[in-house]
Symmetry: C2
Subunit: 211 residues, 2 copies
DNA sequence: TGATAATTTGACCGATTGGTAAACAATACA
DNA sequence: TGTATTGTTTACCAATCGGTCAAATTATCA
């Protein structure tokens, strides 16, 4: 009797749920640090505390782990942007968005780096997801444009505004090594995120204010 | 008589100069696209138009190519920041810095991605260079602080100001795949850099203006 | 309990990869 | 021209890696 691959059966056993989460957690550690090609199944298996064949019982290929991880991460990654509310106060909404994105860099740096790795390589495995992303950004760009038209915030290109928010906030996760090197050991504690928050808040409010 | 490795002799033959540049150029192509682990010596050799052992005659290891490339790139990478002039007009100086950094993202995206790859992985091979970087940033942060003290620009954290300039400008090279996906095919020409320049200029001038 | 399905492991395999050895070809230069 | 040096290639090796297989072990449940 051949053993059915875990992924084939409809997810039912408790042990499958658990082990798959353990594997994805370990894979996030490894992939975010070494990239896809730089990571080995053995490394992931070791971090996950199981043998390589055992890991491959739950995910048939290295690629499958990577895909599952990206799917899981990308979904939550865009939540802050989804929450941008056309009905809210424009400046407050953007300030909240910046703050939430910065918090994600602080609390989920591995996820940020996993994503950065993927995009750096030309985003080969997330083309469809990028289409969804475009749709969401298009929608929110319209919201921002409406705010501009209504004279609520300064005139600017909404797409590049969003890019700048992504860039400035994710920088603290993706370029952490550089940020720490520049700030030095004393300023490299969690306090750097509060300094960053202060700076970004002031900057975006100033930049968006009508003048 | 054993053949002396090219790197050992003092660089003299014309052919060594040429081939080493060809190799570094090819390696930049490959490393910036696939990362260090994701790149193979065979790939670099093929792009360079020579055999693998021939390439290894000029650089003894894959690591050596990578190091040579990083050294060469990092040196020019900081030029724009070096040019930030304490004697110039503060707002104009920062505007020039932003513009130059953005031009580097447009004209040297491979260099940007090579660097991003390295920092993403924790910057293992450029620790000393990061120390130089810190010294330079410290110096320029003092310049900015002086401008603030003199009431020439708005009060803000100079380190995070510099981080934000790095982040927003390099974003267009490092996250090119995402930027293109969001802007769509029509807006993905070189024109996106002019839109970005307009946005960033307005934003930094607005953010730094006294109010 | 016993049978059946699910889980785990050690041994292994073929492909790829970084790097070497040694012979061969081209060049510089006395 | 001859010879020593530099440059190039073919063949190869050892290590690593993604993945398989069959057997062993454990959980499930009638």
């Amino acid at each position: 009797m051949p053993v059915p691959r875990a992924a084939k059966t409809q997810r039912r056993t408790r042990i499958q749920e658990e082990k798959e989460q353990i594997i994805l957690e370990a894979a996030l550690d490894v992939f975010s640090l070494h990239g896809f090609k730089g990571s080995t199944i053995d490394q992931i298996a070791e971090v996950a505390g199981m043998s390589k064949p055992n890991l491959l019982y739950y995910f048939r290929t290295k690629e499958a782990i990577h895909r599952a991880l990206l799917d899981q991460v990308l979904d939550t990654w865009l939540d802050p942007l989804r929450e941008l509310d056309a009905e809210g106060d424009p400046v407050a909404e953007i300030r909240s968005y910046v703050r939430r994105k910065l918090e994600m860099s602080r609390d989920y740096p591995r996820e940020s780096r996993l994503f950065a790795n993927e995009v750096l390589r030309g985003a080969p495995s997330i083309q469809e997801e990028l289409a969804d992303l475009k749709a969401l950004v298009d929608e929110k760009a319209q919201v921002i444009r409406a705010w501009i038209k209504a004279g609520k915030i300064a005139r600017c290109d909404p797409y590049h505004l969003i890019f700048s928010i992504w860039a400035t906030t994710q920088h603290y996760a993706d370029f952490d090594a550089q940020v720490r090197a520049v700030l030095g050991p004393d300023k490299s504690g969690e306090g750097r995120f509060e300094d960053a928050a202060r700076f970004l808040e002031q900057f975006y409010i100033g930049g968006l204010q009508l003048r």
